[in-house]
């Protein structure tokens, strides 16, 4: 059914259609509207056999999810940024125990400095925890990925996080097609746990494992994600058959077949990238883009196939490996192992800074002339930076950096260039 609705609400409806049995959440911007929507549905009796728990912290949220999932029920939660970090111990725990929890991440920057706007630093902080990480490009894909996520998680007994850009997707009103309950039921069978806490068949869950077996357990976790590489496209195909549209999969290519320059990005920025690609193609530039959907497991082979014929790759990242440079770039570089082509890392959109078509056009043109640094911070205000560095070299007692910059700029940070 077509609807004009807020991204969060679309996700809430999609999750509701998946018949979750326990939902728990702690408020944090920008995911709150998702769980508020679900909470209201439960309270109004629209979601049958579902328990909604108001927890006292994100750590509690993931813990409650661990408990209910281990007890054999379909479990859902959502968080962002600081909240994801606060539950970090439990995030690793859920993956280690092999519990098919589905969690939405409303991507948001991590402090300090505290910042409520979108970037990918939160999901990236948990990239090695053992969760499957899927990135949505649009609100439609966001809601579709949740339906796929439950089935993926339950088939593999592995938790899945669906990442959607905070505010940009969560708070945007767009037209989406909400499936029917029958369609979802046909795609997503009832949850049949691989292991569960049941007085009729007691087991002990969560043993202390020493050196003699730990490596094997980790290997099996890794192996599970490698299996997902095959399963994710299969599920996307099945989804397409059932719902009549493409959503998910490992990655999507856009006009890459004869491209010399290929841009790689995650999430909603791909929309803007595709617009710029179209514009530049009209001017005859051989440029294309790849939107990675499955960041974990990282689609090495599929990415290699998409990129190997290009001359250069520009990886556009909304995250930063402080002291190193790019995070996604590492994965892209690995996929191109043995192939000599130029690779450029562009750090953009941190803390919610807008990525404009004009900036991207300039960037891609520079890339085409190979006039890019190895690592570029898009739209960095060089004046502010050099002023700050000089000030710091002159005085010991400089005070907090963030406040100093804000004073210098004189306006609120989310400036549009």
């Amino acid at each position: 059914m077509l609807k004009q609705t807020e991204g969060s609400h679309a996700v809430a409806e999609a999750v509701a259609l998946c018949r979750p049995q326990v939902i728990c959440a702690y408020p944090i911007t920008p995911q709150t509207h998702i769980v508020e929507g679900l909470g209201e549905m439960v309270k109004a009796g629209e979601l049958a056999d579902c328990e909604f728990i108001n927890v006292e912290s994100e750590f509690a949220a993931m813990s409650v999810a661990i408990g209910s999932s281990a007890a054999g029920v379909r479990t859902y939660t959502a968080t962002s940024s600081q909240g994801l970090l606060f539950m970090a111990e439990a995030v690793y725990n859920a993956a280690g125990l092999g519990l098919p929890i589905v969690m939405t991440i409303g991507n948001r920057a991590i402090g300090a400095p505290i910042n409520i706007w979108n970037d990918h630093s939160d999901s990236m902080s948990m990239r090695d925890a053992g969760w499957i990480q899927l990135f949505a490009e649009t609100n439609q894909e966001a809601l579709d990925l949740h339906i796929q996520a439950f089935r993926l998680a339950e088939e593999l007994s592995c938790p899945v996080m669906v990442c959607m850009d905070g505010f940009i997707l969560t708070h945007a009103y767009e037209r989406v097609d909400i499936p029917t309950q029958e369609q979802v039921d046909a795609f997503l069978p009832r949850y049949q746990p691989r292991q569960l806490l049941d007085p009729a068949d007691p087991v002990s869950f969560g043993a202390l494992v020493g050196p003699e077996a730990f490596t094997e357990v980790r290997y099996l976790q890794h192996h599970k994600q490698l299996r997902a590489i095959g399963l994710i496209p299969q599920l996307a195909a099945a989804f397409s058959k059932q719902f009549g549209r493409n959503s998910g999969g490992l990655l999507r290519t856009y006009r890459t077949e004869d491209a010399e320059t290929i841009v790689v990005a995650l999430g909603s920025v791909n929309g803007t990238v595709q617009d710029v690609v179209d514009e530049m193609r009209e001017r005859g530039v051989r440029i294309g883009s790849v939107s990675i959907c499955s960041f974990r497991p990282f689609p090495l082979a599929a990415l290699r196939a998409a990129l190997e014929h290009a001359k250069r790759v520009v990886v556009l990242e909304k995250c930063l490996a402080v002291g190193l440079g790019g995070i996604v770039s590492d994965g892209v570089r690995k996929s191109l192992s043995g192939i000599a082509l130029k690779g450029y890392t562009v750090i953009a959109g941190l803390g919610g800074r807008a990525i404009t078509r004009a900036s991207l056009t300039r960037l891609f043109e520079d890339a085409g002339r190979d006039e890019l640094e190895q690592v570029t911070f898009l739209d960095l205000n060089a004046d502010v930076v050099s002023f700050e560095l000089e000030r710091e070299s002159k005085t010991r007692r400089t005070g907090p950096t963030a406040e100093a910059i804000l004073r210098h700029i004189g306006t609120v940070a989310a400036s549009i260039g």
Partner: protein, 328 residues
């Protein structure tokens, strides 16, 4: 309180007695008790927690007709009971993290409701470290939501599994690895610490109780009662640790008994935030009887003994006796 048992030699004090009717004996006396925590675990010799856990869980299994799931925090109990490839638990059991037992239990309970199986009950258990410190937030959340979980804290008054470090349950003057018995203020400092049973009461939850491994009947009665009602419940069980306290392995129950008989560990029950009952002290003894059996208090018994500090501990005991009217 206990039903009046006509004099049966030891009837009201021992685990069982051949002269008592079966239903007047404790769950532990039964040849067919669950042995929820079975042999082969790696607890130290004379471990009070191993005993307390079996006591409590067996009673809960009996009370719920074996429809029970247990959630365990990280700690001695978890580590010594489930080292791969062996588990001593005979019941469905999960260990997640150190600080989240109460939250995980809330999740398990929610799942049972969602499945329409509210006859399956949930117990969360942890040591004092996992309950009073790192697990405090989740514990408070569970209480506040009145989730249908019985939380049992096994209090051996320090972080034992990691090598006897101080927790907020460590009593004043006790020696731990992070409150060593040196300097002008040896042992743990006065004026610190949390009384979690009273904090639980402040949440207004349906039932709070303290219990001791030295009084099995009292412990079983409290667990059984707790399983007969719904909502958030909390039981705080005193469990001596021979290794951590520097006591003889065969003195475990004796020390637990002395803690109660001195008044240092009062046995009481509370409903919705008000104390409703207490267990009377049978023969009051001075705190020195209790302290001198434990090396963690050895610095009080030097030459000459530290009478001033011992008197402070005696004051604490006397305060409890007055507050809970323990002699009546």
């Amino acid at each position: 309180m206990d039903a009046q048992i006509k004099f049966y030699q030891t009837g009201t004090f021992t685990v069982g007695n051949r002269l008592l009717a079966e239903d007047q004996r404790t769950v532990q006396a039964d040849m067919h008790r669950t042995n929820s925590l079975n042999s082969g675990h790696r607890a130290c010799q004379g471990c009070g927690e191993a005993l307390g856990a079996r006591y409590a869980i067996d009673a809960a299994m009996r009370a719920t007709d074996n429809q029970l799931i247990a959630v365990n925090a990280t700690g001695c109990l978890e580590v010594f009971s489930t080292p791969y490839p062996e588990t001593s638990w005979q019941i469905p059991w999960i260990h997640s993290l150190f600080g989240n037992a109460a939250a995980v239990a809330s999740g398990v309970a929610a799942a049972q409701r969602a499945l329409g199986r509210s006859h399956v009950r949930v117990i969360a258990q942890g040591g004092d470290g996992g309950t009073t410190d790192i697990g405090f937030g989740c514990l408070s959340g569970m209480f506040e939501r009145n989730d249908d979980v019985l939380y049992i804290c096994y209090d051996n008054e320090a972080y034992m599994n990691t090598g006897v470090q101080r927790s907020s349950a460590t009593p004043p003057l006790a020696r731990t690895a992070t409150t060593p018995a040196v300097g002008p203020f040896p042992g743990n400092v006065f004026g610190t610490g949390k009384n979690v049973p009273r904090i639980a009461m402040a949440h207004g939850i349906p039932y709070v109780a303290t219990a001791s491994v030295s009084n099995l009947r009292d412990l079983e009665r409290k667990v059984t009662y707790a399983m007969s009602i719904d909502g958030a419940r909390y039981i705080h069980i005193f469990v001596p640790c021979p290794l951590g306290w520097g006591s003889a392995s065969d003195d475990t129950i004796k020390i637990a008994r002395l803690a109660v008989e001195t008044g240092l560990f009062p046995l009481f029950e509370a409903h919705h935030g008000e104390v409703t009952a207490h267990t009377q002290i049978r023969h009051k003894v001075p705190v020195t009887e209790y302290l001198k059996l434990q090396k963690r208090y050895a610095h009080l018994f030097g030459n000459p003994p530290d009478l001033g500090r011992i008197a402070l501990i005696q004051q604490m005991a006397d305060h409890n006796i007055a507050k809970y009217d323990l002699l009546n």
